[in-house]
Structure formats: C-alpha cells, structure tokens
C-alpha cells in the first residue's frame, strides 16, 4: 500500500463541493466517495468531514434535508446551492491554474538539472 499523504489545505472543501455537485449525497457517502476517488492516496480523517460540511452549509454553499436512503434509513443529504456551484467553478479554476503552474515549475527545474 502506498504511503498516504495529508490533504493540502483548503482542498477538502473543494472536493466536497465537487462530490455534492454530482447529486444529493449524505456524509457517509461523501466519505466513501473521497476514498474511492482518491484511490487511497490521500488521507481524509472522517472527523474533519462533518465540521467542513456544517461550515459549507452555514456559508450557504450547501443545503441539506433529511431523506430516506435505499436501505430505508433517514439520512441528511447535502446538495449544492447556486452559490455553491459558482464557488465550485471558481475554486476548480484556481486549483487548475495553480497545479499547472506548479507542474510547470517542477518540470523546468528538472530540465535545468540535466
């Protein structure tokens, strides 16, 4: 198993928004998704997930209601609000620019070393 690394600061919110964008989902579902998507590369402590969800709900980026799951239990499902979608697009764009820039720097320095 590869060694897991910590999630970079601020990216948890972005990932949650991205997952919620795909359709209403409960907290446990998000935790599982995160694990699947990241293929066990990043470590998401489940304990920090819920405070993040509540923070995003409080900022009006997510909205939640209680619904039944397929197994017939009541769960709190989170959806993206319009404001949340705009935030997701903005943050995704920022992230893309940032990672490209960092990638570019890393590639150049390798070239310089050779």
């Amino acid at each position: 198993m590869p060694e897991k690394s910590d999630l970079p600061q601020g990216t948890l919110d972005l990932l949650i928004l991205k997952i919620a964008a795909l359709g209403p989902v409960h907290g446990y579902g998000i935790a599982q998704r995160l694990q699947q998507i990241s293929r066990d590369v990043v470590q998401v402590p489940q304990g920090s997930l819920y405070p993040a969800l509540h923070r995003l709900e409080n900022r009006g980026l997510l909205i939640a209601d209680w619904k039944e799951t397929e197994t017939g239990r009541e769960a709190k499902f989170y959806r993206l609000t319009r404001k949340g979608r705009a935030q997701l697009e903005a943050e995704a764009a920022t992230w893309k620019r940032l990672s490209e820039a960092i990638g570019l720097i890393l590639r150049t320095s390798e070239g310089g070393a050779q």
């Binding site: 907290g27 446990y28 489940q46 304990g47 819920y50 405070p51 409080n58 239990r73 009541e74 709190k76």
Partner: protein, 879 residues
C-alpha cells in the same frame, strides 16, 4: 435559516448532529461487517476512523457562526447557577461592586450633566462670554456699559451681544412689600441666548434706553407666587423700587443667568452715573458667535477693538484687553477640577472593589482547578474555558452594575444637595442614557478586569498534576498574584486615607485661624431702604439715621453699625490707592479692599484697634476726610503699623489727601481659607457719613446692617424687621445671616471634601481589610498541611502565628510604601485645588498609615490564629 432561529432551535440542531453521526457510524459498521469483519471489530474500526464523537460534535458546533452566542447563553446560565450555589460569595461580590460602580456612576452623572452636556440653549456651542483682562486684576467678567455699547457697534464676529448686571429691589405693589432678587438686562439678551419668553415679549430696543417706558419681565416662579400663574399678569402694573412698571413678559421656568431671580428690568433705563463711566466695570456680557465664526476669530477681533478703545480712552482703557471664552466654561467655573478629582478618587474605590472580587474569584478558580482540568481532558478548548470564566465575571459585574444604578438614583440628589454653595447647572443633573451606557461599560470593564487574571490562570497549568493533586497545592504563581492584589489594595487605601487625613488636618488648622473679628453674637443683613427716599441724598441720610436709632432700641441688640461689605459674604469693593499726591503709573498702583462703615462698626465686629482711633460722629461731610487702615495696608504702604497722622490718596474716595486716623487688625474677609491666597490683602475703612451726595443713592442700595446682640443673634431678626419697616412700610431686610454662619460657610468646600474623602477612605479601609482577610484566610488554608508538618516537627503555636503575620506584614509594608508615593502625588493635586491646603507632612502620613497597619494586622490575625489551631495529625492526613 437566520442565526436567531438557529439559536432558538439549538436543541434540534444538537439532535441532528447526533443523528447524522450515528447514521455514519451505523452505515460504516454494516459496510465493514459486509466485508467480513466481526461486529466488534467493525464497531472498533468505525469508531477509530471517525475519531472522538464529542470532539467532532464540538467542531461542528464551532463551524456554525452562532457558536459564540450559544456559548454565551450557556455560560451566562452556568454563571448564574454558580452564583446561586454560593450565595454569600455572590452577595459579597455584588455588593462590593455595586458600591464601587455606584459611587463612580454618581460622580459620572454629575460630571455628565455639569461638564459634558451642552447647555440647554439652541446652538449653545456658539454662546460665549467676553471678559476684560488687565495686568493687575487678570481676567474678570466686569465690563463698563460704554465699552459694551462700543463692542456691540464694532464687532462682526459676535452676531449678537447681550449685557446684564445685578439689580434687585423692593416690589411694593401689588401685595406685601418684598425685596426681590433681580437683574438688569439689555434688550437683546433673550435673543442672544435663543430663549423664547413663556408669555409676552422681551424688552424692545426703545425700552432699553434712558427715559424708556418702564417695563419689567417677571420670572416663572414670581409669576406663580404673586399672580398664581394668571395670564392676565401681562400688561398689569408692578411697583418696583417705587416706580410703576408694566409687566411685558414672563421668563420660562428654569431661566437663570447666574442664579434664579424674580424680576428683570431694562439695563438701558438705568441713569446712574456709573452707566457713563468707562472705568466702572459691572456689566456681564453674553454673546452669540456669527455662524461659522470661531472663538479664535472673535478673540482676534476683540484685540483690535480693545486696542482702538485704549487709544481713544487712555485714562480708562489703557492696557485693557478683552477675551472671549465658551459660556459653558464660564458657567461651570472652578468646579471642573474638583469634580474630576472626585471621579478619580471614586475610581480608586472601584479599583479596590475590583481587586477584592478578583482575589475572591481567583481563590475560587484555584479550587476549581480540578474541574477545569477535567473539562480540558474531556476536550474543551482552552479559549473556551477562558471565555467561560470571563462570562462568569461579566455576569457578576453586570449584576453589580444593576445594583449600582439603584444606588446612583438614590445618591445623586443627596450628593448635589451636599455640595457647598450651589453647584452650577444643578437643575440639569439626572440620569440619562449616557450614564446608563457608562454604568454598563464600567460594569463590563470591571467584570473583565477582575475576571481576567483568574481566567487566564485557570487553564494555564499542566493537566496531569492538576488532576492528580486536586486543589490542595498552590503554585508560587498564584501566590504572587494574590500578594499583588493585597499590595495594590493597601496602596489604594493608603492614598485615600492619607488624602482624608490631609483634609482633616487642613480643616482643623483653618478652623483654628483667627478671623480677625469676634464672630459670636453678630447678625448681618442687607437693608433695602424705602425706594422713595433713595433718590434724595438728604432723605437717605435721615432714613439711615432713623434706622440706626430704631435698631438700637430693639431688645437684645447691644451695638448697631452699617457697612457696605460684610466679611466672608459675597460682595467686594476694591480701590487703587497711593501714598504720594501724584498717582503712580496704572500698573504699579496697589489696591485695597475698601468699605464704608458707621462709627460702631469696630465694636459690633470686635475688630482690634491697634493705633489711633476709629470714626466718631465728628467725622462729617465738611470735616477732614479720614480713613482707618488695617495692619497689612500700613505695612505695605509705610513699612510699619503705627502710621496715625500719615496721608493716603485714592481718587475714588476724595480728590484730596485722606488722613489716616487709626490702624486696626486684619480681617479674613475672603474666608478663613481663601484670605491668604487673595490678591487683595490690604483693607481700608472710610466713614459712611463722608460719602458724597452724588454717590449716596448708589451706596444706600448696597448697605447692610450689622448688630451685636446679647442673645442668640437670629432671635432678634423678627423684632428688627418689625421695627424697620420704614415710614411707608416698604423697607425690608434680606440675606439675614449670623457671622458664625458666614465663617462656617467659608470652609464649606474643605468640609465637603473632608466628608467625601472620609467616606471614601472608610470604605477603602473596610474593603481592603476584607480583601486582606480573604486572601490570607485562603493562603493559610492552602498551607494547612505545611503548618501541620511544622507543628509535628516541634513548632509552637506562636511560631505559626508569627509565620503568618510575617507574611502579611511584608505585603502590608509593600502596599504602604507604594501607597505613600501615590499619596504624595494626590497631595500635590489637593494642594492645587483646595485653598488653605496643608502640604503632606510625615506626621499625617505616619498617623494615617498606622491606622491602616493596625486594621490590616487585625484582619490578618484571625487567619493566623486559625492556622495555629491546626491539629498536626489531621492536617498531615489531608495531604
């Protein structure tokens, strides 16, 4: 969802978090079981993955924005519960704070109304007073009438200019003759102040000049008293000073210039000589600045105008400056520094109260250490605990503040009534939102102030030792903090005690001063002669002669005299004099207090005759002009006291030389305390019989009677009044005072401050003793095991008592030392503010600090004795 709805639905939110997390766990567990784990293993793994459920919940609550409010609510309820659990602690703390905050609020209420609030006139910040300034006299209110007219003509920065001067008199009809207080005002005065009349109108410009139709404005009080508030009073006739005047207006209730008066008359109708004399400065000015003009601009303009007048009228106006200043400052006068000083001293009281409560709280916080450590271990954040401690002390502070408002409401009136003389703007003093805000801010600030130390200390320690040892051991840090509390309390108490001691010493010294006269059995009163005789000098002289004769026959009266000024009563006449026929340059002229008296004055007042003789019936208009001077004038003018036969010149009394026929002792005319600081130290008497005819009517309106009695002076008042009603029955006595009253009133300010400081110092002493007792009881109770060990090892009871007392003695001396430094600073302030104040002497310091030392030592003796009664075996078992 709004924040307040979230707040209201707090329980629902809590339940939702709980359900959400339970769902998460259940789901995870069933997934893990599906993957083949045993139920126990699955449960364990799921729990580990999620982390501590309480921490997660706590973080979720934090993530919501209303967290602080919810906490505040919770903490406040928790704090109230804690207070209910320890009612005696709560009562002591709240009472202590209520006293401190209450006293501070009372002082602030007064300062707010007297010093801070704008005057109750429209655009009152544009109102200024104009003063004249001379090198000799400094800045005084006195303007001459011609100067006022010129200033009104030339000034642009001053939009409107009003003038007023004193002008009481006898109202003889309708109703009983009565002397009423009054002012003569110029026609613009009401429009300068921006005050509309309640009924009728202000004076017209044509009424404000010689020969104008006699008109009069009456005050609200006079209107109610004499006319029962009947609107028909407007247009009615009132006989004032023997002249029928038409009432043209009623001033609104509460209208006052420098005090409440009954009637206002037009200044311009006054035909006295002094109205045309530029050197006679008896007019007060009030002006309204043109919109946009500043006091500085007005000042510059006044400089130009006064320079012009000085050039035009060098005799009277040379070296005469004019200055303008805000009316509010003028009205408030010299009470400003006194009020701030009092606020400063009650703040010290408040600080002592804070320190007391802080040490109580700290003791509790240390004994609650275990609880707090437990909560830290259970996952509470440190900042959360600090916040909770602060909320507790803020709740305490606010309860104290609430109680203090009650105190302020009750005490403010009493304080104002206690003020010596009249406190300016006293009628405007009441609680308002500013005071409420102040009390709220002070309560919160004190709550945080005394809560901060315990709050910051409490969660500061390492968890493990705290949990293990519990509340039984005490760290050096908290002992130091306690010591600092005791030291600062004692220091503050020393400052107040020494100040009170200083004031007491000063009052004692001042009361023992020789006033220069025999104050026992002397009665003084203003006399308002019948207005009909005032205009004719010969009739006035005859009326005075008759007055003296009748008074002599009143039973109980031994001697009678007339005088224009009475020692220690408001009123003065200061004249320049010189000792050569040619007057010296104006700036170098010495001045003297001058009073005109009848021959028996010396006997009535009991003033000592040092050389020569006093006046007798042979000193008349056509005989040599004579004067009697006091020892100070003799020494200043001639360098010795036996100067009978020498000559003086004072143009206002006589163009020729004045023969000195006697030298008398100095009288503390300006008050027992103030006399030494007065700029006028010399005194001169001249015979009433030699006042020239043209001044007779003016002087007659100033005169007072002084009588020496064989019985209690106030008991002759009725008989004297009955005897002196005059031929027309409209002659009256007013401002009746015994000399003893006047002397005692001259020390009213010192007595008032002594009373306040005495109360403050007493409270400070009591609070400091309670504080020392509390802290030492606590510290020694923490040292019980140590004491037990010492006694087990052979220490005697006396050793233990000495040990505790030595500890407290060190604190007390540290407090006294720093307090003495503060007291020295305080004495400097008092020295500046209080006339006749004694400088700080080692004796005063020693006496007052030993009072504190004894009180503090007795407060520490109880805990010391308790410590010595410790049973070594049980004490050691506690450990």
């Amino acid at each position: 969802m709004n924040w307040w709805r979230r707040l209201l639905r707090r329980n629902e939110m809590e339940e939702q978090i709980e359900r959400e997390l339970r769902f998460h766990l259940d789901q995870h567990i069933s997934d893990l079981i599906a993957r083949g784990l045993s139920p126990e293993q699955a449960r364990r793994e799921a729990r580990l993955a999620l982390g501590g459920p309480q921490q997660v919940k706590e973080q979720c609550r934090d993530a919501r924005g209303t967290r602080w409010l919810e906490d505040l609510w919770q903490d406040a309820r928790y704090a109230l519960r804690m207070l209910r659990q320890g009612p005696s602690f709560a009562a002591v703390a709240v009472l202590t704070l209520a006293l401190g905050i209450g006293a501070t609020s009372v002082m602030f209420t007064v300062i707010n109304s007297v010093l801070l609030k704008p005057l109750a006139y429209p655009d009152s910040e544009r109102l200024v007073t104009v003063h004249v300034q001379t090198e000799r006299l400094g800045s005084t209110w006195g303007f001459s009438y011609p100067d006022f007219l010129d200033l009104r003509r030339y000034s642009h920065a001053l939009e409107r200019l009003g003038a007023w001067t004193y002008g009481g008199g006898t109202v003889s009809q309708p109703g009983e003759p009565e002397y009423v207080d009054g002012r003569q005002i110029s026609s613009e005065l009401f429009s300068v102040l921006g005050v509309p009349l309640l009924k009728g109108r202000a004076f017209l410009p044509q009424e404000d000049r010689p020969g104008g139709t006699p008109a009069i404005i009456i005050s609200y009080g006079f209107w109610q008293r004499r006319f029962g508030g009947n609107p028909e009073a407007i247009g009615a006739s009132l006989v004032f000073e023997g002249k029928p005047c038409t009432i043209v207006g009623v001033a609104p209730a509460g209208f006052l210039l420098d005090g409440e008066v009954d009637v206002l008359t037009p200044l311009g109708q006054n035909t006295e000589v002094r109205m045309r004399n530029r050197a006679a400065r008896f007019i007060h000015l009030v002006a309204r600045l043109r919109p946009g003009a500043t006091v500085t601009e007005a000042q510059a303009e006044l400089a130009l105008i006064s320079a012009r007048l000085a050039k035009q009228y060098p005799e009277s106006n040379a070296n005469l400056g004019m200055t303008a200043g805000p009316l509010r400052q003028e009205l408030v006068g010299d009470v400003r520094p006194t009020l701030w000083m009092l606020l400063g001293s009650v703040s010290m009281l408040l600080l002592i109260a804070c320190v007391n409560v802080a040490s109580l709280l700290l003791a509790r916080a240390v004994s609650r250490q275990r609880e707090l450590a437990m909560r830290l271990a259970l996952g509470a954040g440190r900042s959360r605990l600090v916040r909770q401690c602060l909320t507790e002390s803020a709740v305490l502070g606010l309860s104290g503040g609430l109680a203090s408002l009650l105190l302020a409401v009750l005490a403010t009136r009493r304080f104002v009534a206690l003020w010596p003389g009249s406190l300016p703007r006293a009628g405007e003093i009441h609680l308002d939102w500013r005071v409420l805000l102040f009390a709220l801010a002070v309560s919160l600030a004190t709550g945080i102030l005394f809560g901060l130390a315990p709050a910051l200390r409490a969660p500061h320690r390492e968890l493990e030792p705290a949990l293990r040892a519990g509340a039984r051991t005490i760290s050096a840090g908290s002992r130091n903090l306690h010591s600092a509390f005791v030291i600062s309390e004692i220091a503050l108490a020393v400052v107040l005690l020494v100040s009170a001691g200083l004031l007491g010493r000063t009052l004692l010294h001042l009361s023992s001063l020789d006033p220069g006269l025999n104050v026992k059995n002397v009665l003084t009163a203003h006399v308002a002669l019948s207005p009909s005789v005032l205009t004719n000098p010969a009739q006035a002289r005859a009326a005075w002669e008759d007055f003296l004769n009748r008074a002599r026959h009143v039973p109980g009266i031994r001697d009678v005299a007339l005088t224009d000024i009475v020692p220690m009563r408001v009123g003065e006449n200061v004249l320049p004099y010189w000792t050569t026929p040619a007057p010296p340059p104006p700036n170098a002229t010495p001045v003297t207090l001058a009073s005109t008296v009848t021959p028996d004055y010396l006997r009535v007042m009991g003033i000592k005759l040092l050389h020569g003789r006093f006046f007798n019936d042979h000193d008349r208009l056509n005989s040599t002009a004579v004067v009697v001077i006091d020892e100070n004038l003799a020494r200043h003018a001639f360098g010795q006291t036996d100067v009978v036969g020498r000559q003086l010149w004072s143009r206002f009394l006589d163009p020729g030389p004045l023969a000195v026929i006697g030298v008398v002792g100095h009288v503390r005319h300006w008050g027992l305390a103030d006399d030494d600081r007065s700029r006028v130290q010399d005194q001169l008497y001249y015979p009433f019989s030699q006042v020239p005819d043209h001044l007779m009517s003016l002087f007659s309106s100033f005169m007072s009677v002084a009588v020496r009695t064989d019985i209690a002076p106030l008991s002759v008042v009725e008989a004297l009044r009955r005897e002196e009603r005059g031929a027309n029955g409209d002659q009256t006595l007013y401002e009746v005072r015994s000399m003893e009253e006047l002397v005692s009133a001259s020390l009213a300010r010192q007595r008032f401050l002594l009373l306040l400081f005495g109360v403050f110092a007493g409270l400070a002493l009591a609070l400091a003793c309670i504080g020392i007792y509390g802290v030492l009881s606590y510290l020694t109770s923490q040292r019980v095991p140590e004491m037990g060990l010492r006694m087990a090892l052979g220490a005697k009871r006396g050793d233990v008592v000495r040990l505790v007392l030595r500890q407290s003695l060190a604190l007390i001396f540290a407090g006294i030392f720093s307090g003495a430094l503060g007291a020295f600073a305080a004495s400097r302030i008092l020295l500046k503010l209080v006339p006749g104040m004694h400088p700080l002497e080692p004796a005063t310091l020693l006496v007052m600090t030993s009072v504190l030392l004894i009180a503090a030592l007795s407060a520490s003796f109880l805990p010391a004795r308790r410590a010595s009664r410790v049973d070594p075996a049980s004490a050691l078992r506690q450990e």
